[in-house]
């Protein structure tokens, strides 16, 4: 990282939270001005007006421009989706400022205008009418407050032909449908208007770059700015001509999508693949050195953090996906794969997330580059698996070429470049919460619990029934949300980058090429659920050591006065240890979930629900809200995230964890992906031999169809935390010759020594 890049990076952490007032003001004016237009056209015009009018900036020294706000790091407001009357964003991400903060910065008349008009308000009204007092899943508030996201668009058309290319295609299609498809015609007009806005936006940045160039005295910067201006005038009118153009085009388009709607997890996808032809052309012409290419990649990555949708302290929801193999088996690793990894390692930021697609032919050199990142404390890349994921997609009926063009969308779910809308917004069946609900409800009915559920199968049947009911309710809420998005939350600019939208003359909120709404398996807490079932099965139904009634009393009391009950429950086998006394329940739970979502109608009127086991941060919030659970977890403690073992319960090391996870039906059930993390101490990566062993551990897991693995090299800060909260870090293992021990057990002096050798984590 050179001095310029370092300054661009470090400055980010000095910014104060502010709210950008321009987007909400301009959008509100536009909605008033264009009131009689079809909504989709009105939204496109509002976007165009923002792109033409919002003040813009170019940070001193930056080589990539484009931001969704008028000042760096400001919060962007989307009044047409929600005004922040709900606190979901705030609660979920532990952000110090949130919707209250945003609301305080908005003028009263603006709030009055949107109070009954935005998606949130329309959904609230609809909900009252359709669902009465029944509380919808909390996710629905988040779903309705954001635009459709969780996808990877296809930038290739814009890279090659600019937005004029997109616009021409929409115009041709418009000629075909104008006569007899008024809805389609409105959408296509909207695409054309939005594209005009995009071109204007790029030209404004070009103009600002020229003005700045005229002002600066440093001849080198002057020249840079002039070149940037030329690129910005070119990318949307003619297409990208250079690697710099390509990065600029991808970034600016991505930002326009973030200005259009407040979707989460809108990631640029396989940047090494899409930018490589431009890179190679530049290098062949002698116009680009590796050093320049790296600097540009770093400037590109820093933009993600600079303009994180949740502000500087927010949860990351954008990622890039690197490497992989093509449908014909060819390894797609290229120079940029390495370059982006190096850039990520140098700038060391929490966003964007970095994913690398593993496959059996992955070059060893690339694995080492990945491990270098881990060792540096980046916590990334996360590995995805080409030996399993495309197979799962093909099992869903997705064509082979597309299945091998998959990406990660940033939150936890998978996407396919420009073709898949696999939204996380499918709702949740609930899991551990369902079990708790079932146990507590029976008790309040007056009947003894143990009479109500004489066998374990009776208990399972009740959970199954409740899960189906939750899934059905989730699906109907989801359809309500989809209905409102289709009418009021269209995103024509984003739609133009998705296959199937211009062709069908329909917005993405109607559909794109592939639509598979995903139903999260309870978000966080899947392992807690499995563990709880196993503990109840053993302690209550097999050993008769406890009654069900006593288990419920104990969890309601958070085990206060029931320490003996907790000791029994906590000792039962736990998922993540390769122990069939609990892992044998995995197919039972998968089946339960498959039945819960079978045949449910998706929000965009087609596509079947698929299962995901992903969660970015929800497991913490869900845990905070849930009482103690029968796996011995205390009230308020975090749930397990995704397929991770429940906190502090995997004690047998990586191979055991991977064996447990590998028992899941990854390509026949978990189409939407799952997440799996494992903490290692950096010592494991310090030597060539250990690294090779780790590579083989990955190979074993991935060849047996594991979907995902993130190895987190623990940071010094984490180890400090482990010293103070050993109960949260019991599974952290120190490995040296002839000796293995848990970190938390070590003498404090030795812990200090290890901490001293450990890198600091990302910001």
């Amino acid at each position: 990282m050179n001095a310029r890049v370092k300054r661009l990076r470090d400055e980010i952490f000095t910014w104060k939270d502010t709210v950008c007032p321009h987007r909400p003001r301009i959008v509100t004016e536009a909605y008033r001005k264009y009131e009689s237009d079809p909504v989709v056209v009105k939204r496109a015009k509002a976007l165009r007006d923002v792109l033409e009018q919002m003040p813009i900036y170019i940070r001193e020294g930056n080589l990539i421009v484009g931001a969704p706000t008028s000042t760096p790091g400001a919060w962007i407001v989307y009044p047409e989706f929600s005004l922040g009357t709900e606190k979901i964003v705030q609660v979920r991400h532990n952000i110090h400022v949130g919707n209250d903060f945003i609301r305080d910065h908005l003028p009263e008349d603006l709030k009055d205008y949107w109070a009954t008009r935005n998606c949130y308000a329309r959904y609230a009204a609809y909900r009252r009418e359709c669902f009465g007092d029944r509380n919808p899943p909390s996710d629905s508030w988040y779903m309705i407050s954001t635009a459709l996201g969780h996808l990877t668009v296809d930038f290739r058309e814009t890279l090659e032909r600019g937005l004029t290319g997109v616009s021409e295609r929409a115009r041709r299609r418009l000629e075909e449908v104008r006569q007899d498809d008024p809805e389609g015609a409105a959408f296509l007009r909207a695409v054309i208007i939005a594209a005009e806005g995009g071109i204007a936006f790029a030209n404004r940045y070009a103009q600002l770059a020229e003005e700045t160039a005229a002002r600066v005295s440093d001849p080198r910067r002057k020249q840079e700015l002039q070149r940037m201006a030329e690129g910005l005038r070119r990318i949307y009118v003619h297409g990208a001509r250079s690697y710099h153009d390509a990065l600029q085009s991808v970034w600016l388009s991505n930002q326009i999508m973030h200005i259009e709607g407040n979707a989460w997890s809108m990631s640029p996808g396989r940047v090494d693949q899409i930018c490589c032809p431009y890179f190679q052309r530049d290098v062949a012409r002698g116009e680009l050195t590796r050093e320049q290419a790296l600097e540009l990649a770093e400037c590109f990555l820093i933009k993600f953090k600079e303009n994180s949708i949740f502000g500087m302290r927010g949860a990351p929801t954008q990622c890039i996906t690197l490497g992989g193999r093509a449908a014909d088996g060819r390894d797609q690793t290229n120079e940029l794969t390495y370059l982006f990894l190096e850039a990520a390692r140098e700038v060391k930021l929490a966003e964007p997330l970095i994913h690398v697609r593993w496959h059996k032919g992955i070059p060893k050199k690339l694995m080492h580059a990945c491990f270098d990142c881990l060792e540096a404390g980046l916590g990334m890349p996360m590995f995805l698996n080409d030996e399993a994921t495309p197979e799962g997609f093909m099992n869903l009926g997705i064509e082979r070429e597309a299945a091998f063009d998959y990406t990660h969308v940033g939150c936890g779910e998978l996407g396919i470049t420009g073709k898949l809308q696999d939204s996380a917004l499918g709702g949740s069946t609930g899991h551990i919460a369902v079990l708790v609900q079932v146990l507590r409800r029976k008790r309040s009915n007056g009947k003894s619990l143990d009479q109500a559920f004489p066998t374990f199968e009776d208990l399972l049947a009740a959970v199954r029934k409740q899960m189906r009911a939750n899934a059905e309710h989730s699906a109907s809420v989801n359809r309500a949300v989809g209905h409102i998005h289709r009418q009021f939350g269209q995103i024509p600019f984003t739609s133009a980058f998705m296959h199937g939208c211009i062709e069908r003359a329909r917005d993405l909120t109607v559909r794109c090429q592939y639509n598979f709404p995903s139903m999260n398996l309870g978000g966080g807490g899947f392992p807690n659920f499995v563990n709880s079932l196993a503990a109840i099965r053993q302690a209550v139904y097999r050993d008769h050591a406890l009654t069900l009634g006593r288990v419920v009393e104990a969890i309601e009391a958070d085990f206060q006065g029931f320490e003996d009950v907790r000791a029994v429950l906590a000792r039962e086998p736990k998922f993540g240890n390769d122990d069939d006394r609990v892992d044998d329940l995995l197919p039972v739970v998968e089946q339960m979930h498959a039945e819960a979502i079978a045949g449910l109608k998706g929000p965009r009127n087609d596509g079947r629900y698929i299962a995901t086991g992903t969660v970015a941060t929800g497991h913490i919030d869900q845990g905070r809200q849930l009482i103690a659970t029968p796996d011995g977890r205390h009230a308020g403690r975090p749930m397990a995230a995704g397929m991770n073992a429940a906190p502090d319960t995997d004690r047998n090391g990586l191979t055991a964890l991977l064996n447990s996870v590998q028992k899941l039906n990854s390509t026949g059930h978990w189409f939407g992906g799952y997440i799996l993390n494992f903490n290692i101490l950096p010592d494991v990566l310090a030597s060539e031999k250990s690294r090779e062993k780790l590579m083989m551990a990955l190979e074993s897991y991935f060849m047996r169809k594991g979907l995902n693995l993130q190895m987190n090299c623990v940071s010094a800060d984490m180890l400090r935390d482990a010293q103070h909260h050993p109960e949260d870090y019991r599974s952290l293992m120190v490995r040296i010759s002839g000796y293995n021990d848990y970190f938390t057990m070590l003498d404090p002096g030795i812990q200090e020594e290890i901490i001293g050798r450990t890198a600091h984590g990302v910001k």
Partner: protein, 300 residues
């Protein structure tokens, strides 16, 4: 049945590849620096980690032999009273208590070892039987290694070499790789450091190498105890005189296991200042072995 201290999966440093290391309990040596003191005794033992104790006194309530005492907010364990019944361990919500030493059959252990077969096959790993000194339970160790070998799982024996030569020789057929520790050559020094002479050790080493067994000689490098140039030179001479010459692996001393002494109610015998050897002295030691024509590795 064998008495197992611990089965450690995903071991990266106890032989080639990814391994499962089975630590057996019991050792006839008593090295001053031992980092696995919980494997010394051939009986199950109670371990108490004071830092994790929540002073809830549930152990006191369940113990039938008054092995747990609480006085002025201090939890004192009377190890001599403990019968290793495990009731306090089950009751302890803080996981501060544990029993080390579980009776297991060969079949039980192989069931665990077998689980990571795919990892072994891809990485060239397998099972490592370690200790304590595995040869303290010769019948069990032999049966375990034989059972693994029958399943075509690569077997390694991590041994002090301190066993009667006829017993030691019986392992040749079931062990694919010996990880053989040499702690000192000077007999008096060996007695002082390890609590016994090294005659069996040197005899066993020579004998198995002579019979063609693959061996890695492992030398713990303990600053101030066995890392002087003279001792290392003598070690190198002895090892280099073997035919064929085995590979030598240096194991720089560490004191990660010191907390276990307190947990077992034992006293730590190494001087406070003995920590990891400096990188220069590891390099110097390496050079001495290399000068004798030996291949020196840091990792397998």
């Amino acid at each position: 049945m064998g008495l197992i201290a611990n089965i450690q999966r995903f071991s990266l440093h106890d032989g080639p590849g990814i391994r499962t290391t089975v630590f057996l309990k019991g050792c006839l040596l008593n090295c001053l620096w031992c980092q696995n003191p919980e494997t010394l005794s051939g009986r199950p033992e109670l371990m108490f980690t004071r830092r994790l104790c929540a002073l809830c006194r549930l152990c006191e309530r369940v113990c039938e032999r008054q092995a747990h005492e609480f006085e002025d907010g201090v939890h004192r364990v009377r190890y001599e009273l403990c019968a290793q019944c495990g009731k306090c361990v089950a009751a302890c919500p803080a996981e501060a208590l544990g029993i080390v030493g579980a009776e297991m059959s060969v079949g039980d252990v192989v069931d665990v070892v077998r689980k990571d077969r795919d990892f072994y096959e891809r990485s060239g790993g397998g099972v490592t039987v370690s200790g304590g000194e595995a040869l303290m339970q010769p019948d069990f160790a032999l049966a375990l290694l034989a059972a693994c070998a029958r399943e075509a799982i690569h077997t390694a024996l991590d041994t002090s070499g301190y066993a009667p030569p006829e017993v030691f020789a019986s392992f040749l057929d079931v062990v694919n790789l010996f990880l053989f520790d040499i702690k000192a050559i000077d007999e008096e020094r060996h007695k002082r450091l390890a609590g016994a002479d090294n005659a069996w050790i040197l005899q066993n080493l020579k004998s198995i190498i002579g019979r063609g067994a693959p061996v890695i000689v492992r030398v713990p490098l303990v600053p101030g105890f066995n890392d002087d140039a003279e001792e290392l030179r003598r070690m190198a001479e002895v090892v280099a005189a073997l035919s064929p010459k085995p590979t030598v692996q240096l194991l720089p001393h560490h004191d990660y296991g010191r907390h276990k002494y307190e947990a077992l109610g034992m006293s730590y015998r190494m001087p406070e200042e003995t920590r990891r050897p400096a990188p220069e002295s590891v390099e110097a030691a390496k050079a001495i072995f290399a000068q004798h024509g030996l291949t020196v590795i840091e990792e397998v």
